[in-house]
Amino acid sequence: MTSALTETARGPSAPRAGGGASRRAKRSATGRVSPLILVFVFVPFAVEAVWVFWPAVQGFWLALTNWDGLSAPTFVGFGNFSDMASDPIFRTALKNTAIWLVLFGGLSVIGGFGMALLLQRERRGVGIYRAALFTPVVFSLVVTALIWRVFYQPDGLVDTILRTIGLGDFVQPWLADPDTALYAVIVPALWRQIGYVMVLYLAGLKAVDPALYEAAKVDGASAWQRTLYVTIPQLKGVNSVVLSVIVIDSLRSFDIVWSMTKGGPYHSSELLSTYMYSTAFQSTQLGYASALAVVIFLLALAVILGYLIRAFREET
């Protein structure tokens, strides 16, 4: 469930105006609460409490300790966090996570939105184009990683193509060179994410009232103006969903980097998530790794809160 898809469809399902839905909610939820209903709610809640809430509390506590997993954890306060300041790998991972957020996040929104605009009108062939762009979304990130590793191999297709078009000088060990590794991983991640963002925007575009376009057209707005002044403002809801999904996904991104480079070479493609994993399970510094996880959480916090507030509003 850690794939980029995981967080895809978060959000209230009802494509209705808030007012109508809430009135209905008040009306429909009037059944008398029987013990069975309490069990219905309590059991799933308890399952999540055991597997999520309680571990999360422990995770936050462990971040304040030093722990090798064998002896008992010792409390060090915010020591782990001050250690980060002088940890060059942490700084690289933080910088790479920021690059990842901007490039992976930004380009997938631009690419996905652009493709959705190009493919929104139902016409001949559009179904095939959409399917082609969407296909990678179905694959796991590990499958995606392996497909592209085959590609990047020395004498693989990338190199062969570069040589054929006379750019042989650019041929290099893409994933083994610290200067290119991070970007060589972002490309496949984008390949998979763009189709997904496109689907989100296609759904959003479908919900835009066609009368608005007609009105703008009658008023003499060009296609470009219609996109800028009708489509984009109408997509505000989708934009905020896409933004939350992208930020949370970027911060969680792990699979693709782990399967392609494991954060290497020399930590050049390290993200906070991969650094956290290797710190926890390879060098077993469990306290420090927990602190890294807390940093990931704090970076995602604003977006998580924004998402919850929106969800909360929908429910009222």
């Binding site: 794939s3 059991v43 499958v143 590793r149 759904a203 956290m276």
Partner: protein, 273 residues
């Protein structure tokens, strides 16, 4: 002019689409090439051979068959359990005025929004403590626990919008809450359940992080993490790795093709507001 524009559009989109699927096609082509061919001509060349032996290697020598079985043993119960639990919770929260129901719902959603990294160490310790480290049961439990919040939230949205009258009618007919859930609400939620079912199948099947966190032995690994092991086993035998990759991708592609409409519909849940 217009015709020129149309053919330009199709030319450009056709090219983009082709480039998009080209990596997949290329890997499929490589998966059918023999060792000698790859060694002699390189991975970048057109195929000079055709063989199924790569698939045999991946299936038998690398034991991808067992990995696939592991994946299904984890994925199918995990999907059923999470949707079952999520639907009863959503039913209670959406149709009955339970105290603090909004808080409960948002707390559950919040759990799913947490970065999994914060849970990795405590969960690996916890499954060790209860003696389930390195078991598929632990993996099922983790997937169910972590996914629940989101599924509950989505299903709650659907159930909330069902008209009250049907529930009242069933109550007048003497149906209890359990009966109303099973024979009235659940059937009406089928489209949402199908969408979430298709989505959660791919999510759980495609998982890497939880698998490598709670499972250690190679013979218990589901196919997604096992693929990474394949790289170590067949160092630079990229044709076998390609075959293994194709095998690992087949189940999710099959689910996607079978439930295409639900799948895309599920992805779009939440985008339209």
């Amino acid at each position: 002019m217009n015709r020129l524009k149309t053919s330009g559009y199709h030319l450009a989109m056709g090219l983009v689409s082709f480039l998009w699927v080209a990596p997949i096609l290329w890997v499929i082509v490589i998966s059918f090439r023999s060792f000698d061919d790859v060694a002699a001509n390189g991975l970048g060349s057109l195929p000079h051979s055709f063989t199924f032996s790569t698939y045999k290697s991946a299936w038998e020598d690398a034991d991808e068959f067992r990995a696939l079985v592991n994946s299904l043993v984890v994925t199918i119960p995990a999907v059923i359990l999470s949707l079952g639990l999520a639907s009863i919770a959503a039913y209670g929260l959406a149709r009955y005025s339970i105290p603090f129901r909004r808080t409960v719902l948002l707390l559950m959603l919040m759990g799913n929004l947490l970065p999994p990294q914060i849970l990795l160490i405590p969960i690996s310790r916890f499954v060790e403590l209860i003696g389930y480290y390195d078991t598929l049961i632990a993996l099922i439990a983790v997937h169910v626990g972590f996914g629940l919040g989101f599924y509950t939230f989505v299903l709650h949205g659907f159930m909330r919008d069902l008209p009250r009258e049907i529930q009242e009618a069933a109550t007048i007919d003497g149906a209890g809450p359990g009966k109303i859930y099973a024979s009235v609400i659940l059937p009406l939620t089928r489209p949402a359940m199908a969408a979430l079912g298709a989505l959660s199948f791919t999510w759980i099947f495609n998982d890497l992080l939880w698998s490598i966190t709670v499972i250690r032995s190679g013979e218990k690994m589901p196919v997604t993490p096992a693929l990474l092991g394949l790289q170590g086993l067949f160092v630079s035998s990229w044709n076998v790795i390609a075959a293994g990759t194709v095998i690992a991708a087949i189940p999710t592609v099959a689910v996607f093709l079978r439930f295409q409409k639900h799948f895309v519909g599920g992805l779009a849940i939440g985008a339209v507001k």
